[in-house]
């Protein structure tokens, strides 16, 4: 029985810090469409149904979470609101347990865009020396993101495919949050980070590069990722899509437009904001979707995927 628990927003004290990195704020400057706006509206007595546009607009990019001086799990609260609006409850999620004594196998879980780019997928898997998941759970993750109930049995069957797995490399950082909820203990790492940890990858970055981090992976794991990427940026001199708070500015390219947000691949405002005022002569992306976004934005500068930095059999 869904409980429609939407608690958490009451902690918001209205400082507005969460709006600073928010892509919806950056594009619309309408407070109601941000996390702070939703929290204030609910505090003021509005029902979730009255803020549906705002709940739908969120990209679940996670940028607002590290922006808080206090600890507020904004993404979780928005996910709960979506689920409540769709009559689903996070408590209905299946729960598994990672077997800590399992062999420690790792698995690459691609998202739809990476799955489509077969050469890049193969190349990434070869570099990482791990198999590609046969079931990438994209329907389950989509249900999680949109707050809808997945097809009967799918959530459980997806978890089953991870039996014996200790570590997942994901192309979509939202999987980190999903796994925290359903398979605590499973190590989930972003594809970009995993590739950058391979020997020789970081040295391929140049001071004249702009490196575009997959923001969900980074922001939802901020305390671990921030020092890692900050070090790389300092050592290589390459610029990154980090703001002054060291939060990754999302391109919005990977988000699920089913939710009704405006970040379609044709919406290039956010990518333009990332590029604005910076000088660089190559762009390195972690997210395949960003290649398309940059193309749509008619960016006239070479774009490579981080996997291509290795130079081996580059597609």
């Amino acid at each position: 029985m869904p409980t429609n628990d939407i608690s958490g927003y009451e902690k918001c004290n209205g400082c507005g810090l969460c709006t600073l990195p928010c892509p919806i704020w950056q594009q619309r400057h309408d407070a109601l469409l941000t996390f702070a706006g939703r929290a204030r509206a609910l505090q003021g007595g509005a029902k979730p149904g009255e803020i549906r546009d705002s709940v739908d607009a969120c990209l679940l990019c996670g940028s607002c979470e590290p922006a808080f001086a206090m600890d507020i799990r904004t993404v979780d609260i928005t996910l709960k609101l979506r689920a409540a609006l769709n009559g689903y409850s996070k408590e209905e999620l299946p729960h598994g347990q990672v077997n800590q004594s399992s062999s420690g196998r790792a698995l690459l879980v691609p998202n739809a865009a990476l799955l489509e780019n077969k050469d890049l997928l193969k190349h990434s898997a070869r570099l990482l020396d791990i198999p590609v998941a046969e079931d990438n759970g994209s329907d389950v993750l989509e249900a999680f993101e949109t707050g809808r109930r997945p097809k009967a049995g799918r959530a459980v069957s997806f978890i089953k495919t991870l039996t014996g797995i200790r570590k997942v490399i994901t192309a979509d950082g939202l999987l980190k949050r999903y796994m925290q909820a359903v398979l605590p203990g499973l190590e989930v790492i972003g594809l970009g980070e995993a590739l950058l940890r391979l020997p020789g990858m970081q040295t391929a970055l140049r001071p004249t590069d702009l490196y575009i981090i997959e923001a969900r992976s980074y922001n939802m794991d901020f305390n671990r990722c921030m020092p890692f990427y900050t070090d790389i940026s300092r050592q290589t001199g390459c610029a990154m899509n980090l703001d002054l708070q060291r939060i990754a500015i999302p391109t919005g390219g990977y988000t699920n437009t089913e939710t009704g947000n405006e970040f379609t691949p044709q919406n290039t405002g956010q990518i333009r904001w990332i590029l604005e005022g910076r000088s660089f002569n190559r762009i390195v992306v972690e997210s395949v979707e960003d290649i398309g976004l940059l193309k749509n934005a008619e960016v006239d500068i070479p774009v490579v995927h981080v996997a291509e930095l290795a130079g081996e059999d580059a597609p």
């Binding site: 004290n13 209205g14 400082c15 507005g16 810090l17 709006t19 600073l20 400057h29 309408d30 407070a31 109601l32 702070a36 706006g37 204030r40 509206a41 609910l42 505090q43 003021g44 007595g45 509005a46 009255e50 803020i51 705002s54 001086a69 206090m70 921030m226 020092p227 900050t230 703001d243 002054l244 708070q245 060291r246 604005e276 005022g277 910076r278």
Partner: protein, 525 residues
């Protein structure tokens, strides 16, 4: 007359009728003054209908209005009847014209970080300026930026930093807007060197209360320029600003510790007036643990400080102060609880002021991020009361000590934040300083002290807060000081603090500029 049977001829100009069920309707229940009365809504529907016919859609939903229910202080509460996120000066002009016609109060909000309810709408229209957040032009050669005024200082910094530039001075909170800050002052820890944010403005685009769009500067429409800067939103809505900017520099920070407030203040004044550092401020942890922050934009300035000024101040370094405090608490073991509080404060606060990701060697890269996050983390409660006193150099130490005494009676823990502010003239050649946070008798430098209780998990009543603020503000009346936050809930002090003559002069100017008195009512007038 029913709420929306509107007839302009029946309404006396300049009177915004209060809702009969207002905060002062509980007869016989004594209360400190808090919220202003809520407007009764006469003419609202006609106002909205006119704007709708001009394609300006007012959001009247509960969700949309609730976003604006309070300000940074979280103590004053008021619900607007409707909200508009303004996208252009033309939007603002259309609204103000209609507001004059229908006598609808319009409260302007940028970051909404006032603490006395100044930006809150009590039943009228809330005009959110943040829809105007574009940086329009950065002139790297002449070091100026033209920006829309709803932008957060932090967002402006994001755009400037990519070009190796920075704004000059802004509040330490990241989410105050350029327009809202120019209207109230804007104090940074580099204000001893650069003055307040309002003094960084070169030119403004302003929509007057009657809806004219006017460009003004020190050369063009000077009177409006001088009225709008530090004008608490009484004389117009700032929609664009040209500001001075500067090359970005990381800063080197040093802390000196004191156990005497008076000595720390004397040293602050000395360093401010000698222009010995680029950044200066006092932050107290306890009455006997006072921190003087001294920072530099350049190594040369830092070297000069250590060779010329360091020996002339009495602050101790961290180790020296630790020994001093250890000796003190060894002799006063019954104060062990205080010692533990201090240790905990030091343990949690100091690392926040030099987080690895924002440091480069011993330099702080993003001072605003570092300080603002610390401010929100350690002082940013759901409710914040920050009464202050703004004084001349001569009166500063006494004012701070008297204010500190009040804090001690009301709260177990509090912080004092003291800064100096460079002035660029007097009331005669800078009329903007008149009826503002700039103290009337200050010369060359003004000083400010904020008294900020640490509320923790205590629940205090609004009356408790108000009594506390009143006692601090009474000191100001007694000593002839000014205040940074004298509007909104503290507006009862305006005549007492500034005198009838000055207030009546400004009231007459306001009535002329804003015949229906609709723009930001109850902030000052």
């Amino acid at each position: 007359m029913k709420q929306d049977e509107f007839n302009t001829t029946k309404l006396p100009r300049g009177i915004i009728p209060p809702d009969p069920v207002g905060p002062d309707s509980l007869k016989g229940v004594p209360r400190q003054q808090t919220n202003p009365s809520r407007w009764d809504g006469t003419g609202w529907n006609a106002f909205v209908a006119e704007l709708t016919s001009r394609d300006i859609m007012i959001n009247q939903s509960l969700a949309g209005r609730s976003v604006y229910i309070t300000d940074g202080g979280g103590v004053a509460m008021g619900l607007p009847r409707g909200v508009l996120v303004a996208r252009s000066s033309e939007d603002v002009a259309t609204i103000l014209k209609a507001a004059q016609k229908y006598t609808v109060p319009v409260s302007v909000r940028g970051g909404g970080l006032t603490t006395e309810g100044e930006c809150i709408s009590f039943g009228g229209l809330q005009l959110d300026t943040r829809g105007m957040s574009n940086v329009l032009h950065i002139d790297e050669a002449n070091l100026t930026v033209r920006t829309e005024a709803g932008i957060y200082w932090h967002s402006l910094a994001e755009a400037l930093r990519r070009r190796g530039l920075d704004y000059i001075s802004a509040p330490l909170n990241m989410t105050s807007s350029v327009g809202g800050t120019l209207g109230v002052g804007g104090i940074d820890i580099n204000s001893p060197k650069f003055g307040c944010s309002a003094d960084q403005a070169i030119a403004l685009k302003v929509v007057t209360p009657t809806g004219e769009i006017v460009e003004c500067s020190e050369r063009e429409n000077t009177e409006l320029f001088e009225r709008v800067l530090l004008g608490y939103g009484q004389f117009g809505v700032i929609t664009e600003a040209t500001l001075k900017i500067r090359p970005f520099t990381p800063i080197t920070m040093h802390y000196f510790y004191y156990s005497s407030l008076r000595t720390a203040i004397d040293d602050l004044r000395f360093l401010v007036e000698e222009e010995a550092a680029d950044y200066l401020g006092i932050l107290t942890m306890l009455d006997r643990a006072i921190n003087l922050l001294v920072a530099f934009d350049s190594d040369e300035k830092e070297r000069e400080f250590f060779s010329r000024y360091k020996k002339r101040i009495s602050g101790l370094g961290e180790i020296g102060f630790a020994i001093h405090m250890a000796a003190h608490y060894a002799l006063h073991p019954w104060k062990a609880k205080e010692a533990l509080y201090l240790l905990e404060r030091k343990r949690s606060l100091l690392p926040e002021l030099s987080p690895a990701a924002h440091m480069h060697g011993n330099k702080i890269i993003d001072r605003t991020v570092v300080f603002s996050r610390a401010v929100w983390k350690f002082w940013g409660d759901r409710e914040m009361v920050i009464p202050d006193l703004a004084t001349s150099s001569e009166k500063f130490a006494e004012a701070v000590e008297r204010g500190n005494e009040v804090c001690r009676r009301y709260f177990p823990h509090y912080t004092l934040y003291c800064v100096g502010i460079k002035l660029f003239g007097s009331f005669e050649n800078r009329p903007r300083y008149e009826l503002s946070c700039i103290p009337p008798d200050a010369q060359n430098f003004g000083y400010g002290c904020e008294f900020e209780p640490m509320l923790g998990n205590h629940n205090y009543s609004r009356d408790h807060f108000q009594s506390f603020k009143n006692e601090i503000y009474d000191i100001g009346v007694d000593m002839g000081t000014s205040y940074y936050r004298f509007g909104g809930m503290m507006k009862g002090y305006i005549r007492r603090a500034f005198g009838d003559e000055l207030v009546d002069k400004h009231l007459a100017m306001k009535q002329k500029a804003d015949p229906a008195m609709i723009l930001n009512p109850d902030v000052i007038f």
